[in-house]
């Protein structure tokens, strides 16, 4: 069996397309690379959808935390505190069992007990809280002169936010937000270890990597393959976010442009 056959059989295994059973013997490097790569589809799915949807909630939460209206501010503060103060792993477990008990109340909640939706909701709320805190910090450090200039030009309310405050906030928050995005993708590996079942063994990359490590009792092949995939993923995120960063800073003189520095200080 050539490696191309393996790709045809297992390339989309994590979506349920192709071979039904996972390989039971003859664990070639090719099989491991293909199947772990197939699992990466889930990591990318969770990461991309949670990041994009979380971005909007994060903006709302940041504005809420900076707002003068007390109930709104308290709500945002508590939201951020709950999701940043507790481990994501426990959040996954709690959410899974919560959805499980809600399912017995109403069938509406039954899709939430599967990973593709339930875990996504948790990741969405979690990244919204972490990014919300980042955006809030950026909101506070917007130069006063920028806002005063906007006032002088007659901007107020929504146009002022949309055209002046929001872009500046994004520009200031972007380096930290890049880190958050990287760690969100790393956090997606927790999903199938935290209660959410991998239905018909359709798991993510770490699920398959640990499957191989358990079967072969050899961690020195499967985990480095997974690490390779994640390094590529991280570099891709850095590339995309770097391009957005350049666009956000394009109006600034060359010397003031902020370079993104990658520091793992925002992990969960």
């Amino acid at each position: 069996m050539s490696c191309w056959d393996v790709v045809a059989d297992y390339g989309l295994r994590s979506l349920g397309i192709g071979e039904r059973l996972l390989p039971r013997d003859d664990f070639t490097i090719c099989k491991q690379v293909v199947l772990i790569g197939s699992g990466m589809i889930w990591n990318v799915y969770f990461g991309v959808v949670a990041l994009i949807s979380g971005f909007f909630l994060a903006t709302a939460v940041a504005v809420g935390k900076a707002s003068k209206i007390t109930p709104l501010r308290k709500l945002s503060e508590w939201f951020i505190f709950v999701f940043r103060g507790s481990p994501l792993f426990i959040q996954f477990f709690f959410a899974y069992f919560l959805f499980l008990s809600l399912k017995s109340v109403s069938p509406v909640f039954s899709p939430f007990t599967s990973a593709w939706l339930g875990a996504l909701v948790v990741l969405f709320l979690n990244t919204a809280a972490y990014s919300g805190e980042i955006f809030y910090g950026a909101l506070l450090s917007i130069p006063r002169g920028d806002v005063e200039a906007a006032d002088a030009y007659g901007f107020s309310g929504w146009p002022r936010f949309r055209k002046i405050v929001w872009p500046t906030m994004l520009r200031l928050a972007w380096p930290a937000y890049t880190n958050e995005a990287i760690f969100l993708f790393h956090a997606t590996t927790l999903v199938f270890f935290s209660g959410f079942p991998a239905w018909q063994q359709r798991g993510d990359a770490l699920y398959y990597a640990s499957y191989f490590a358990d079967k072969t009792f050899n961690p020195f092949i499967a985990y480095p393959i997974l690490a390779g995939y994640f390094i590529v993923l991280t570099l891709t995120i850095i590339g995309i976010f770097g391009a957005i960063n350049r666009r956000l800073n394009r109006h600034l003189p060359q010397a003031r442009k902020t370079r993104i520095r990658y520091r793992p200080n925002l992990m969960r």
Binding site: L88, F193, L206, L235, P264
Partner: protein, 293 residues
């Protein structure tokens, strides 16, 4: 535990809960909180030590040592930490058994890896198959601690390396002008001054470490997550005196509250510590304190 607990099925709710919450199994659950705290108490200093060694190595003038330190620092950036957790637990175990095998059974002629098996001689097994159960648990916990220390040591090394670079260069140059050796500059000038720069990063790391403790569950230690899943599951009257439905959601709510309280408390303590440490320092924070006084 209480005298009226002999027949729980006839008790009213408050007494029932008093009995339920003091059963032997629940005591094991409470003890597992101790496991978590013990892990933190051991891991934090060991990881700091690893981090210090890593940061010092990255600053070394001997190039290969410096590369090694920088590689260690870079290790955790691109790859999820949980991958390292799962990897190191098996890798350390196999590595130790391999070394013991080489020492204890030099005349063993079969290959160690046979297909999907990892076979070492009986005398090299860790812990020995004749060892009592408690040693197996201690060994598992120790592996977990070392794994945590390696991964968080890499994070700590990153923080400390940054802090060492943040110490004003003029300080080091002045020391050099006074004729101090490199070793003296490192220990007498650089190290005492770097802590205030390192503290924000280290307190962040402490929070991250707290929030990583539930991952002990994945390393096969019977920690709070293990017990919460075990005890919370629905129990029928056939197997226990305290039958109940699926309470896992409540158990995990309890864990959630525990972690929230723990991180909040840490935050308050670390804030105070930061205020103390910035006192009298030539930094923005120290300057603000001086003006406020």
């Amino acid at each position: 535990m209480f005298s009226y607990c002999t027949d729980p099925s006839v008790l009213a709710a408050p007494a029932w809960f008093a009995c339920y919450l003091t059963t032997g199994k629940l005591m094991l659950f409470y003890a597992s909180f101790g496991t978590v705290l013990l892990l933190l108490a051991i891991t934090a200093p060991v990881a700091l030590g690893f981090g210090f060694a890593g940061a010092a190595a990255a600053r070394a003038r001997f190039a290969p040592l410096s590369w090694l330190g920088k590689l260690y620092i870079a290790m955790v950036r691109g790859v999820p930490d949980i991958v390292f957790f799962l990897f190191f637990v098996i890798a350390l175990d196999q590595g130790l058994e391999y070394l013991r095998h080489k020492v204890k059974c030099p005349d063993w002629d079969q290959p160690i890896r046979q297909g999907s098996d990892f076979i070492v001689c009986q005398a090299a097994k860790l812990p020995l198959s004749t060892a009592p159960q408690i040693w197996h648990e201690i060994y598992g916990f120790t592996l977990a601690v070392v794994t945590f220390a390696i991964v968080f040591g890499a994070f700590a090394a990153n923080v400390l390396f940054g802090a060492m670079r943040a110490v004003p260069h003029a300080q080091l140059e002045t020391a050099e002008a006074y004729g101090m050796t490199h070793r003296q500059i490192f220990w007498r000038i650089l190290i005492p001054q770097m802590w205030v720069y390192a503290l924000p990063g280290l307190s962040n790391l402490w929070m991250v470490l707290i929030k990583a403790t539930p991952l002990l569950f994945l390393l096969g230690v019977e920690d709070i997550v293990y017990w919460a899943r075990d005890l919370g599951g629905a129990k029928t009257a056939r197997f226990t005196d305290y039958p109940h439905g699926d309470w896992r959601v409540w158990y995990f709510l309890g864990l959630l509250v525990f972690y929230l309280a723990f991180t909040r408390l840490s935050e308050i303590v670390l804030d105070r510590l930061m205020k103390k440490l910035t006192h009298g320092q030539a930094t923005m924070g120290g300057e603000a304190q001086r003006k406020a006084a």
